[in-house]
Amino acid sequence: MTSMSSSVDYQALEFEYRPSPDQLAAAPAEHPVIVVGAGPVGLALAIDLAQRGVPVLLLDNDHKLSTGSRAICFAKRTLEIFDRLGCCEPMVDKGVSWKLGRVYFGDEEVYRFDLLPEPGHERPAFINLQQYYVEGYLAERAMALPNLEIRWKNNVTGIAQDAGGVTLNVDTPDGPYTLRAGHVAACDGSRSPLRAMMGLESKGRSFRDRFLIADVRIAGVELPCERRFWFDPPFHPGQSVLLHKQADDVWRIDFQLGWDADPDEEKKPENIAPRVRAVLDSIGAGGRAVDIVWASVYTFACLRMERFRHGRVLFAGDAAHGVSPFGARGANSGVQDADNLGWKLALVSCGVAPEALLDSYAHERETAADENILNSTRATDFITPKSEISKLFRDAVLDLSRTLPFARKLVNSGRLSVPATLRDSALNSADADAFAGTMVPGAVAADAPLMRRGEKTWLLRELGADFTLLVFRAGGDSPSPDAWADACPAGIDLSVRCIAPDELADVEGLAAQRYDARTGATYLVRPDQHVAARWRRAPSVADVRAAIERACAIA
């Protein structure tokens, strides 16, 4: 398929509603998996399932992509997942990378930091890119997969489940019809109609504060590509302001407004313009024409559903959990939900793994949601102190950060989204041997540069679609792949990759360093690229089989 050019106006793109033969069927059509919601999470999950050979039906109540830029920071782990889904390249090409962050307190820059990612990873720490581009590239990829069908303007109005499956009532421009599914993934956003229809809630802490997002295009000025965060600036006293860049020379400005602000008044262009001009004046870009591309006033809450699995219905993304925007953990964690759920749903759907594997999705991602909520709540409490004493300490930290590096570690304008390490997962095999470093069972496998026959490649790129056995070897022959044939339960593939001079050469030594690996060290990596088990010396076939069975909840 040819890629749409980057000049496509993804915001204006409308997808066509097409009637399906299912709508005329005498009995409800049966589908193994139905995904509800074609946002970044639903699209990612549908692509993953389709790539794994599961026929997927994706329903969306609308026929357009995201309105407005919304999520704009896509973190390294999310990009690695998009790589696996075959659509990362255009995102990285289109997205904006920044390295320099500046923090201001009052009228003074208190410090700047260089967000230089550790070298030796294919993908950057993150990119800034409007959500509609991400959805656009995902939708293109989804539409290229033969076993993935998207039905636009298909609005789910009812859901019921029994021992054999899930029944969905769906409304369309041609009237209602009924579908049956083996499993349903609810990726239908923070207001999740499916959640409400099932009488479930997402609970947590609301913050009494309002924020204004303004996306602006500034004529005739080349601003350096930096992120600037102001605490209590003279041009917006008592509140915070964030400025950073997106694709197409659009700048995102985020103004804290306080709880008493009137959202309808604040959204008016004539009220936004002076706020934007004040920011630009302060950075020496005053007097320029400013085009307000999109604006929104929002509030937020940190909350989650008690359980992400309800029988045959799995909740993912904003439907399952919500965070404050500080730290970019909303869309990023949602895509990681999809990454976790895809392979499990595929194995359960085709009968290879038991339903219990889906409990591990819920457990692993509930734990990750707690971690994300904790991080985003901490950032929120720093940015918008909730009491006099909280503000006193916040200001003390900022005061000291001018001159004392230790205090800069306490400044929290959002911690960069990093994937959760699933330490307590029942899918992990406990270490029998001692290892140093961070590649514990449950961690996302770290990337590293490798060479194959003189060609540069990357460790994550080399991992198989299902399970991978990563064998570190200084020399000698690799075991034949047949040697591992008995390590796999029926229906599961095991790829064997040797980090060895004559196969995947670790020329910079970073793979060995990151995995604390000497010759013989062997890692078992899950289909979602998390470490499942590891051994100092070559494991037996029985060891590997036991670890794969554990990772698939096969008793």
């Binding site: 006193l392 300490f393 200001d395 003390a396 005061d399 000291l400």
Partner: protein, 65 residues
């Protein structure tokens, strides 16, 4: 382990210096100074475990429970 036995090398001198540090400050400025002082001393201690013990003991007004 948080040291709660007498550990200051010169208690009276320290106390005088502490009070002197606040001389002529408004209540608000004194509070801000104290906040900075807490942060500086916390960084010097470093250990989260020790800091938690100190926070708990301070919260209970010095009465361990």
């Amino acid at each position: 382990m948080l040291i709660t036995d007498a550990h200051l090398e010169s208690p009276d001198d320290f106390y005088e210096a502490l009070i002197d540090t606040h001389r002529d400050l408004s209540a608000a400025d004194s509070h801000a100074l104290n906040a900075r002082l807490v942060l500086l001393l916390a960084n010097h201690i470093g250990s989260l475990d020790v800091l938690r013990q100190a926070l708990a003991l301070a919260r209970s007004a010095g009465r361990p429970d």
